[in-house]
């Protein structure tokens, strides 16, 4: 029987594939690589493309990765796939958005603070009304 290696394809949100394989093709940043068992240890980035897994029954399975990392060990291959499209400027934009949200909602939050104050005032008013009611009751009885 031909030699196999263990292949894991995982993303942060789910495990995508796990099982033995004869050969794996992956889109590394420096060019596509084909990996067979007992490959020398290698760590590389992936670019968007297709990961092809040749299973022991010679059937092929395809997975699309938008980018990620590839770890190769003699006994197996691990693809750490990104779930989102990653690029420096996209990340930068997302970071900016997060900052803006923190600042923007500060303005909106004024309502929240007002709300809290209104709530406190309401509680006070209710307490006052209750006291007045109690006094009236007493006077009525007396």
């Amino acid at each position: 029987m031909a030699m196999t290696m263990h292949v894991d394809i995982v993303s942060a949100e789910a495990e995508i594939f796990s099982g033995p394989a004869l050969m794996v093709f992956a889109p590394a940043v420096m060019g596509e690589v084909g990996i067979m068992p007992r490959h020398t240890p290698l760590l590389t980035k992936l670019k968007p493309g297709e990961v092809r897994v040749v299973k022991p029954d010679n059937e092929e399975e395809y997975f699309y990765v938008s980018s990620g990392m590839l770890e190769i060990l003699p006994q197996g291959v691990t693809v750490l796939s990104d779930t989102a499209l990653r690029a420096t400027d996209i990340d930068e934009a997302a970071a900016l958005q997060a900052k803006e949200r923190a600042e923007k909602e500060l303005a909106d939050n004024k309502d929240d603070i007002d709300y809290a104050r209104a709530e406190a005032e309401l509680a006070e008013a209710i307490a006052k009304i209750q006291t007045i009611k109690n006094i009236k009751k007493k006077l009525g009885k007396a």
Partner: protein, 286 residues
Amino acid sequence: MAVGKEIRNQIRSVKNTQKITRAMEMVAASKMRKAQDRMAASRPYSEKIRNVIAHLAHAHPEYRHSYMKDRDVKRVGFIIVSTDRGLCGGLNANMFRRTLRNLREWNEQGAGIDLCTIGSKGYSFFRRLGSNVVAHTSHLGDAPRVEDLIGTVKVMLEAFDEGKIDRLYVVYNKFVNTMTQDPQTVQLLPIEKDENVELEHHWDYIYEPEAKEVLTDLLTRYIESLVYQAAVENTACEQAARMVAMKAASDNAGDMIDDLALAYNKARQAAITQELSEIVSGAAAV
């Protein structure tokens, strides 16, 4: 019969409330199960990365990425994962109380604090306190996506790169079981080296491109995956806490309905007795 109309109305409104809380309980139960699955599904990724990082740290003892270097703490960053919605018992309140104590300790040591909030409850709470919230994300829904967290995490990582913060923590609720959720504070940066892992072999990877670039990417993803896990775990906690809270509410509504029914029956009986005695005494008078 006019007796006990108010009580009847009240019983009806309590019953309606009970219907709602029951429905919410069941919805939370099914969402919790899904959230737990998601929790399990996210584990292999961070485990794999942790292995690679542990290996890297061993293969290059002389090379230390800035994310792995300990430095004097002048300012601390916290990523606080909370829920978007309430009605989940004391889940958020417990965590905030624990966090506040933690923040106060840092303050006493003279360290400044930057916060990054995920979830609107945490945002409004720490805003009201006047804390310095530098980044915020909310409305992640029941299935948070890594995509939605990248931005907020990046703000904190950049702050760390620029030396604005010297340490980064993530605060979230750990899902112990349905009844128990445990607020946790986990250190993200600098990454604590796992001393227990003693690797036997001495070999190194070939890096494509350079080791440093690969390592930076890897560490960023690692931090992101930890924050993602925290978010997913917190959703599971939210649903579990909501389920328990809504179950208690339904039970309380049941008790209240029983009490009201008893009061209603008593009032009805009293009215009947009174009417009877009136008739009897009327007949006796004739």
